[in-house]
Symmetry: C2
């Protein structure tokens, strides 16, 4: 590849596919590397789109009803009757959010996630807040979905209950591996589990309704016992609001389609919008149906057996094959939901990093074209949460959904601000803004109202959330999000400062370096130090060898040997009465460097012998390394290692 080196030109481009990564255990685990050109550009239709984007939203029906009942249980099992009205309120909220997002989808055909909408319309602080909120929520999606999936499994196989934490962590790692492989989303891999779940759920719910109307439904046989430590006795508005906010977890994942509009076939906005409508309709219906039937069969919220399990075995007549199919489909869709976060979290992280609010390394796509750092980070934090909260959905739920509702609020507020700006335009006027084109539209007032109302409602939910669940764990998120935003801005500040100080604007070329002095620290006179001397002579004629002496007899030997071998180069011996090696050298170097002129540079040439085995480094003091660490911060000093390979 060097053969076509063009010795005369000043610019050479090497096109080659030679730089193929080395094979290792990693390629065995995650597959052979993929070239950049392999990035997918495939688009999907509505039916597949529903499968790809709905798993997160639909899977929440697996735990939302149970979590409502879990809260109501504080007021005794008599309060379970409130669950259905509460779920109707939640479906109303779903309608509002769906209408809001319809408008976002049309306004941002290039993808309108909360981060982008907030950034373009509200500014950096709201955008970073929305981003931080979403990032925490993606982590909780993984923890909650996987924990709930394991809870479904252990409902069918109670003997596995004691292993739920290792099973859950194992599942997270499995999903991580799948994502590190970067499986091409072939549509079909999503369609099968999603439609399997849909069919099973629609069938179970429909059959349940049928039996309800025929009066043959009955109650759960051998229900688990109610595990409430302390029953208050009377229902209070606080308990109802608390139950409501637990139930809103059903709405997590509704935003997914607005993030991924570009994946749809043209006309993409229209296709995406129709898919969103379908998804919301199915979600609302399923959620209402499950909550209603769970009430009718007197399901009991419990860690030992999920409400879904109780409800479906009652409807389907015991632990039959159909029951197992329902439980399996629920577990699988919950895994798919976790998988969705593994795509969203790293992508959002890369967006932050691209804007300079997270370490730039997060924009790096690994050998399989996925954002490997983000994937691993997500898996590690989610696993830690699962271990910490013992894979209990009920324990995790107070941390969940605040983030997503905060991002709903910011996104809708951003949209409403956008309509306001559009309203101020002249008809036919077009303005190019960061992410999208603003064009006058009639009826902007109504649209502003819809988004504004959406923002208002979701904001109220955030407040209800923060207040009713504060003690149970929401405080963690309330503290975490501002801390994350602070860190994001600190990082951003660093990158901006760096860019400024590296910028070539107003860059007056400093004078050419006219004088180069060399200091050559030597511990003894041997082939290594002479190799360094040989190199130093190519740099300058002003060389000073420096030896730190802790033993004057030893130093006298060094002096004599240097007289013989040192080619007449000046030797300075620094006496170190306190047996320090580095400090006298540093003091000497700094003293010499302090006389540096603008056109002068001081080079420290450090002989370093390199043992063949890395372990052997333990047998030597790492002067070169320590010197570099100490001198890195001094301007006008350059450090050069001259390695001497010991054969």
């Amino acid at each position: 590849m060097i053969d076509n080196h063009d010795e005369t030109g000043t610019f050479v481009l090497k096109r080659t596919s030679k730089f193929f990564p080395r094979r290792s255990w990693r390629s065995w685990l995650i597959g052979r590397p993929l070239p950049t050109a392999d990035a997918p550009h495939q688009t999907i239709g509505k039916a597949v789109g529903l499968a790809v984007f709905a798993s997160d939203a639909l899977s929440s029906t697996a735990y939302a009803t149970q979590e409502i009942l879990m809260v109501l249980a504080i007021a005794g099992s008599g309060a379970f009757g409130y669950a259905f009205p509460i779920s109707m309120a939640i479906v109303l909220l779903l309608v509002i959010i769906t209408l809001s997002y319809q408008q976002t989808i049309h306004a941002y055909p290039g993808g309108g996630g909360a981060y982008i909408v907030a950034r373009d319309n509200l500014g950096e602080l709201p955008a970073q807040t929305a981003g931080a909120a979403l990032l925490t929520d993606y982590i909780l999606t993984v923890a909650v979905s996987v924990s709930s999936g394991v809870a479904q499994l252990t409902s069918a196989y109670p003997e596995w209950f004691r292993y739920r934490v290792p099973i859950a962590v194992g599942m997270v790692l499995l999903v991580m591996l799948v994502n590190l492989r970067g499986v091409r989303e072939s549509g079909i891999t999503f369609a099968i589990p999603t439609y399997f779940f849909l069919v099973m759920m629609v069938f179970t719910t429909g059959y349940g309704m049928l039996r309800f109307f025929m009066g043959t439904l009955g109650s759960v046989e051998n229900p688990p016992s109610l595990e409430v430590e302390h029953i208050v006795g009377a229902i209070t508005p606080f308990i109802i609001l608390h139950a409501f906010s637990s139930g809103t977890t059903a709405l997590t994942g509704v935003e997914a389609i607005s993030d991924g509009i570009t994946a749809f076939k043209e006309p993409r906005s229209k296709n995406a919008a129709i898919t969103l409508l379908w998804m919301s309709a199915i979600l609302g219906t399923l959620f209402l149906g499950i909550t209603f039937l769970a009430g009718q069969v007197h399901a009991i919220p419990s860690e030992a057996e999920t409400v879904i399990s109780q409800f479906s075995r009652t409807v389907l007549g015991g632990r039959s094959f159909l029951y197992l199919a329902t439980i399996t489909s629920t577990t699988v869709i919950l895994m798919m939901a976790a998988n969705t976060s593994f795509a969203d979290f790293p992508r959002l992280g890369a967006l932050h990093a691209g804007d300079g609010f997270l370490p730039r390394q997060l924009t790096y796509r690994g050998s399989r074209l996925v954002y490997s750092y983000g994937i691993v980070t997500l898996a590690v934090i989610a696993s830690m949460l699962i271990i910490l909260f013992k894979a209990s959905v009920t324990a995790l739920i107070p941390l969940y959904a605040i983030g997503v509702f905060l991002s709903f609020t910011l996104s809708q507020a951003g949209m409403s601000r956008r309509w306001r700006k559009i309203g101020r335009l002249q008809p036919e006027e077009e303005v190019q803004e960061r992410g999208s084109i603003l064009r006058y539209e009639t009826g902007w007032q109504l649209k502003m109202l819809i988004n504004g109302f959406g923002a208002f409602c979701t904001f109220i939910v955030v407040l209800v959330f923060a207040v009713t669940k504060f003690q149970d764990g929401a405080w963690i998120i309330v503290i975490l999000i501002p801390v994350m935003v602070y860190i994001f801005f600190t990082i951003h500040h660093h990158y901006k400062k760096l860019a400024n100080s590296l910028s070539l604007e107003n860059y007056g070329s400093p004078p050419r370096i006219e004088r180069c002095r060399v200091i050559l620290p030597i511990s003894g006179v041997h082939r290594g130090s002479l190799a360094a001397l040989r190199y130093a002579r190519t740099l300058s004629n002003d060389i000073t060898a420096v030896h730190v002496s802790t033993d004057l007899e030893e130093s006298e030997k060094v002096r004599q040997r240097w007289e013989k071998w040192g080619e007449g180069v000046r030797l300075v011996i620094l006496e170190s009465p306190y047996r320090l090696m580095l400090e006298p050298l540093l003091a000497y170097i700094e003293e010499v460097a302090s006389h540096n002129q603008q056109d002068e540079i001081l080079t420290i040439v450090v002989p370093q012998f390199v043992p063949r085995q890395r372990l052997h480094n333990l047998l030597h003091t790492q002067t070169a390394f320590l010197l570099r660490q100490a001198l890195l911060f001094k301007p006008g000093i350059v450090i050069t290692d001259v390695p001497y390979q010991v054969e």
Copy 2:
């Protein structure tokens, strides 16, 4: 200090006391640094010498009797009667060893530790074996002495028994700190505790004998219960030999004086020899007395209360003030014994290191003029042993004393070899050997016999030891010593090879470097890379800037900016389809370097920006560091960082 720089001469010696180490938490903990000139040269007389060197040997009387009884207990308490005859055999062994060492002291007035005697007379392998044996034994001296000291304490204060492990570890750390401070051995600090112990022990034993002869001695009141899991019932030769080898721990520390002859006043050999005689006499008497009286009062070996405690409270009439004084003096002398190891272990380690059998860093004396690395190593390993063996003397004892007896054997064998050499000399003939002067002596035959007999007896003890205690833990030492010797020789091999390959013998100066090429890897065109370019121009006119491209649009920008700012230097863009950064660069560098001639060198100039805060490094890929790691092993390549400080 640079003012007196002599610009014309080729050799400058800077004498200065400026290089005083920075003050830190360390100077608060271990005291202000001491200059090399402060090393002590004080000598001591016989009385102080006894105090300084006897603590290790005398303190072993605190546990030797108990450990004999502990073994005999296997055969039931009826077997305790064998303890006294066994201890007489041990005292006989003491006499043999003392006679042997008398000769060593006269032959090696400069200090005749086993390592030196074996090295000078037997060769490297026996010397390293003796050294390894002693090093393990010093560690066990610390663990056993401190554990026994704590056992004395908890005999007086049983409520502390459950805290014995933390107390013991705390004591080790305390002794470590004292030694890191490098307290000047003022003699008096040793004399007080040693003579305090001597007085208390002589008094207690003497008073006990008096009461025995008057028939008023009686038995231990409320003795602890016998804690033997499984009583064999009949005494066997194996049990007797086992008890004997446990008892030989009384003789550890006898070698101390022969190591430290130089500390004595002139005539040092004579003074040291007399001190050794005194020490052995006291040790033998005390040991016999304690064993005899422990038998008479029917003391029971136990982890809960030491035999010393039972014996002294019986003699002194209950837990009186005198009893407490005896226990305290015993605890203190045991700490002094541990302290002795903290001087011996690092000194022996430094000897090994000086000969190139351990990392050279061990010869480095810290700010307080002590071998800090060795002190810390000893404390860490001893603490680990204490934790592992739960501060139980009985559990530790099978590992103990093999080392010291192995070193006795090698040392005496070395001496006997020496006499043989002397016997072959002509009268009046003198031969200078490594460590000492060989001169013909009459009566060398007898002396050879004495040392040979000493070697033989101690060797038998080593065998008895290894066999009878193998299962109980001696196997650890039997494996460990050869492993250590192997490691020592591996290290030695490395240093020898290094010295050879650095040696200037037969060193034909390689040709002067005539051509220097430069490769300048750049990630972008900014002040950092231009600073590196500016430096590179001082090195060579043959410079190639290299940019690895994972994004061709980005690279086109780099190209354009380089055309503007690159001062006409050639730019090579390496396309990396698999998004690898380092590998394409390395492949290019190696390709270029492979064309290097003898008089050519390739310098890689790496721009590196240095953020003010170290934490910020997390926000950048450490290309410079990774490049250095990868290229260190390639000859003919020099790596230069040009740091660019971000203000």
